[in-house]
Symmetry: C2
Subunit: 300 residues, 2 copies
């Protein structure tokens, strides 16, 4: 067991976070949020999705968001592009990195994207081929890695196999998502260990939701195996459609607090991060779901 010296945080608040918020943030505020995150030191920020605005109205103007950003400043702005229509729109908007997502649970795949896991991988193939040809970086997500709202437990061998399929499609990294936040530390670590038998640890990321407050403990347990890429959302943006009112992604602020305390470098300034989070929550009608932000905001 060895902790990483440095962790790369992938900020997913402007996409995974905002798409699970009830209120839609105006384009200008989404851009300001992302610029605030750059100020705080984040270098990879998921900026939106090119999916049907009927299903995800929060992300409808992702092209305008990208248009408002400096795409040449050395910051990666991946966007979700699950099919060729989305991929073409993403490219037209200037995207240089796209993300695709598969589930580790058949029931979740059927209910979330109306096809089997195998079918979803087939649908990603043309996107992956086009990305390879265009020199566009491809990131993969696997959902339900620690449990499914319909099936309950998900076999770790399935998580490993789906992750491997995404790597074979050409992803440089696979992000392991505890979509409904039901993981606990030893299960999270065992899952990561199994996936790492098939994929180098350096190509694996954690994407844990804090629905039941377990995210940081799960991350700590996995850091002991050497994982060094972690997805997080400033202000703990987002929620859980399967547990209304629950927390969303692990808060970037609280993750950085933990990593700072462990002497693991992130390159992120916590105060600037809190400020960036305020840009978002000021437009969402609820306070930041970050313990650090809460403790600071109400300090005497």
């Amino acid at each position: 067991m060895s902790f990483p010296r440095r962790v790369r945080i992938v900020e997913v608040g402007p996409r995974d976070g905002l798409q699970n918020e009830a209120r839609i943030l105006p384009t200008e505020r989404r851009i300001a949020l992302i610029q605030g995150l750059v100020q705080a030191g984040l270098t990879i920020i998921e900026a939106g999705s090119f999916v049907s605005p009927k299903w995800v109205p929060q992300m409808a103007d992702t092209a305008s968001v990208l248009a408002g950003l400096d795409l040449d400043a050395g910051i990666a702005y991946p966007v979700l592009a699950p099919n060729m229509k989305g991929y073409s729109e993403a490219r037209a908007a200037g995207a240089r990195e796209v993300a695709i997502f598969a589930a580790a649970s058949e029931s979740f795949s059927q209910r979330n994207i109306n096809c089997s896991i195998a079918e979803s991988l087939d649908r990603f193939r043309p996107v992956a081929e086009a990305a390879a040809q265009d020199g566009v970086r491809l990131r993969g997500y696997v959902s339900c890695v620690l449990g499914c709202p319909y099936e309950g437990d998900v076999p770790v061998s399935r998580v490993r196999d789906v992750s491997q399929a995404l790597m074979q499609l050409g992803c440089y990294e696979v992000s392991l998502g505890d979509t409904i936040g039901v993981g606990t530390p030893l299960k999270a670590r065992a899952m990561l260990q199994t996936v790492a038998e098939a994929i180098p640890m350096a190509a694996l990321a954690l994407h844990f939701h804090d629905t039941y407050g377990m995210a940081l403990a799960n991350i700590f347990a996995c850091l002991e195996l050497g994982v060094s890429v972690i997805d997080a959302a400033v202000g703990g943006l987002g929620g859980c459609p399967y547990a209304a009112g629950a927390s969303g992604n692990v808060s970037t602020e609280d993750l950085v607090t933990m990593l700072d305390g462990m002497g693991i470098e992130t390159g992120i300034d916590r105060e600037a991060l809190i400020a960036a989070g305020q840009i978002a929550v000021a437009g969402l009608g609820h306070p930041a779901r970050s313990k650090l932000a809460a403790a600071r905001a109400q300090a005497p």
Copy 2:
């Protein structure tokens, strides 16, 4: 490193939790809360304090609370009794277990109880002697084990020495308190390891506050060393006088979620625990600070 098979949770919500809440819970509701906790399977529940009602009005009627409980039902109800006046009152009220508390930081000791650490230990001596004579169990607390609001870092050797002094006074167990919640996992584990050089692990408890969201990760890191007693407060009751609006003790509900997921026995029923927490928060004017309670309470 070896995880414990079973963890004993010491419920501190009715004392450490409630004494840090702005609203004072009526006696009847405090009794109902404690009875709810017994129903949930807790067997050691801190029931109150015998300290000056001028300083801690929330605990003023602790004798009435004890009078409303069945003290012969095999449940331990420790109460704080930092001096002979408090001890006598506790005994008159039927208490069979008392707790004393010292700080690991000189500045905190001075500001919190107006004396040095050494003086505080001297003051506890007559309480400890009386308890030994009366067959009353004595529990010790050490505060600021991972940091002090006035001094910042606290040397782990000081935590070890103060813990040892409490054991020498006759405490059967010392609870290590991260009073302001500034600990992170590796520091928490290193602190515990140092204290465990002087005191058997079986006589050590963790008492972590969740001010910055680190409590569960810190507990997980320490569980790997085999610690098997953990203080927690239902509904995450309490707060932090040094960070207004911040979280208090780690929530018992969320702790049990983590331990259940790790296959570590607690004997506690989570649904009954959530119900007990509701008894308290219904009288406090804010929702439970427990992710589990939040996810359940607002579920569709």
